[in-house]
Amino acid sequence: MSGGYEKLKRHDLKLLIENLYGLEVRNMQEGDRGILVYTDRGIKRLKGTESDEAKILFSASAYEHVCNNGFRQISCINRTLNGSCHMKYDKNNYILQDFTKGRVYEANTAEAAAVAGKALAELHKAGEYFIPAPGSRARVDWGKWMEKFKANSISLKKYKELIYLKEKKSEIDKLFLENIDEFLEKMQYAHGLLKESGYLDKVRQSMSCNQITHGEFKKHAIFEGDPEGVFITNFEECSYDICEFDIATLLESFSGKNKDELAAAAAEAYSDVKPLDEGSMKIIKAFLIYPKRFFKVSESIYGRRKNYNEIELAQKLARSIKREKKKEEVIRFLDFGR
């Protein structure tokens, strides 16, 4: 194969897929998101994954759960003839899914944004009462955000103090110092908002119904589906969490000048299927206000200090600041839009 999958030997792979899945492979072609496998039972997509077997089993059973609960706009992970959810090739794990043609969904009108919001609500409804297959390793994000916000703001304060102690400050240091106070304030505000908005009650509710969420519900996870519909991908990152996290991720991914309008339409369409109360809106706002990109880049610069490339990191930091500021329009909708 060429590109990202160049180490794979086409013939070996063909035989392996045929033997494990009982399919007749007619052709294979590398695509954007894996290898397209043309079989006697339709086109499949073979995708490499860094997850171990237990994690794959968790997401495979989540896929099956939402499908069995009537959410069909998703493509389950195919099982092998002996029931396994993955195949191993050259020490790496791969999953095979049905391929769906289509482009990344363009949610640039209120109507289109509403379709995405509705699909997410339906996915969440289908994701209730999820119990994974035995032996799964669950990804769980229940209840961690409040503490994470607090711990991360302590880390940023620590970095700030360390930079002040430096005699000679680099360009990154200067950029960091120019913005840190504003972001620290946002972090504290987001933490306070979660605390006062009944975040833990929402977690309790979500835990009581074993709510599975998408975990990465942004633009690239939504594809154009059948007429006027959407198709959801990248469900492999699914986790137990509150639904508000996915909603915030969706609202944040809207771009263009009418972001606030799109966010309003998506939230309203979501709420028609799965009602959102005032507490939910505040939690979504907290997730949006929290400067996760800025923290992530700062952490890689001052915390982990790995792969340190000054120019690249300075660009990353500048980009993260820009993107944090772009969220403000969506946040404004949450303040005034409802």
């Binding site: 237990a54 035995p134 032996g135 229940w142 503490e147 620590k158 074993n210």
Partner: protein
């Protein structure tokens, strides 16, 4: 095997330990079932058999230690503590099976998710289990208690031993003509950590630690000694289990409580509010005396992480990646600085 003061998560040693398993079909035949799948999970194997799911463990301690562990589990069960796993007896009634020089045992497999200490609900549930475990542990009278499993009154001795070791390691590093990155980190922190250790020892001598130990000895209580998030399993139908009692010892309960706080502090950037919440939550279930609280101060001050990682490098000479070691050494050394600020705040609030 040396017992540590409090346990650290260590995936490297898990992998090394798993490598020592002799997974032979004949082992499973001797256990009386057919194995369909074997999956490594931390330091054990989850095995899927024709008779259900099990957890396979290799005995990692001498037989008298295993007898101690098995009888501790029996004791908890007898006292109505249903949050621990059951040992699956072999066909001949034994708790374990011998195979090619090793001994293995089976427990029921508990399917669920690991506890997340960042989730306040999970943490509270874990504290509830710990408090009940401590209560149920009282009255434990094992037939044999291996010397390494009896820690009543031994903290000063262990503190002392570790301080001496840190001093010896320092000498060893100073004698090296060329210093590596790890050596430099060690020397940067060694004096401070040795001082902290000595200060911890001194503070401990001024507490009522001895009488607390004597009380615990009279009550015959034991502790889990490895109450990490991955040893607390939440099933999806709402039950909670404490697993892996391999390191249980006879000691005062503040050892477990202090370790739980430290584990949380490392994740929460040494947030004193959280430490107080944990103590408050435990205290609601099992009232904690002011004497017990005071013992926590030297426990927190002792540079356990620094001593342990240095020991693994300079004495045990673990065959781990040098860069990983340097990273770990650096992180754990920084804990020493952060824990000092935390202790200052903690002392004001207790």
């Amino acid at each position: 095997m040396r017992m540590e003061l409090f346990m650290e998560e260590n995936r490297q040693s898990d992998r090394e330990f798993l490598g020592g398993y002799n997974l032979d079909v004949k082992l499973f035949e001797a256990m009386g079932f057919k194995v369909k799948q074997i999956i490594p999970v931390r330091s054990v194997y989850r095995i899927v058999t024709d008779k259900g799911f099990y957890c396979l463990k290799r005995l990692r301690f001498p037989m008298e230690d295993m007898d101690f562990i098995f009888s501790a589990l029996e004791h908890l069960k007898g006292k109505g503590f249903n949050n621990a796993y059951d040992i699956v007896k072999q066909e001949n009634g034994d708790d374990f099976i011998s195979f090619k020089g090793d001994k293995y045992f089976l427990t029921q497999w508990i399917d669920g998710r690991e506890c997340d200490f960042m989730n306040p609900m999970d943490l509270d549930a874990a504290i509830e289990v710990l408090a009940r475990l401590h209560n149920a542990s009282e009255g434990f009278a094992p037939v044999v208690c291996p010397p390494d499993r009896c820690w009543y009154g031994k903290w000063p001795e262990y503190f002392n031993d570790r301080i001496e070791e840190m001093k010896q390691m320092k000498e060893q590093v100073l004698e090296k003509p060329e210093k590596s990155e790890i050596d430099r980190i060690y020397l940067d922190y060694a004096d401070m950590c040795i001082n902290d250790g000595e200060e911890a020892l001194q503070i401990l001598s001024k507490t009522d630690y001895r009488s607390l130990s004597e009380e615990a000895a009279v009550k015959k209580s034991f502790i889990h000694h490895d109450f990490a998030h991955h040893n607390i399993i939440h099933t999806f139908d709402g039950r909670i289990y404490a697993v892996d009692f391999d390191y249980c010892i006879m000691d005062i309960r503040m050892h477990d409580v202090g370790s739980l706080i430290l584990r949380n502090m490392k994740k929460s950037n040494w947030d004193t509010d959280k430490a107080m919440d944990i103590l408050g939550s435990y205290d609601r279930r099992n009232p904690v005396s002011s004497t017990e609280l005071k013992v926590l101060v030297p426990f927190f001050l002792f540079p356990q992480d620094f001593w342990m990682i240095s020991r693994q490098y300079y004495i045990e000479r673990k065959d781990w990646d040098e860069e990983d070691f340097a990273d770990k050494m650096s992180t754990k050394s920084e804990y020493t600085l952060m824990r000092k600020k935390f202790i200052e705040e903690f002392e004001k609030r207790i």
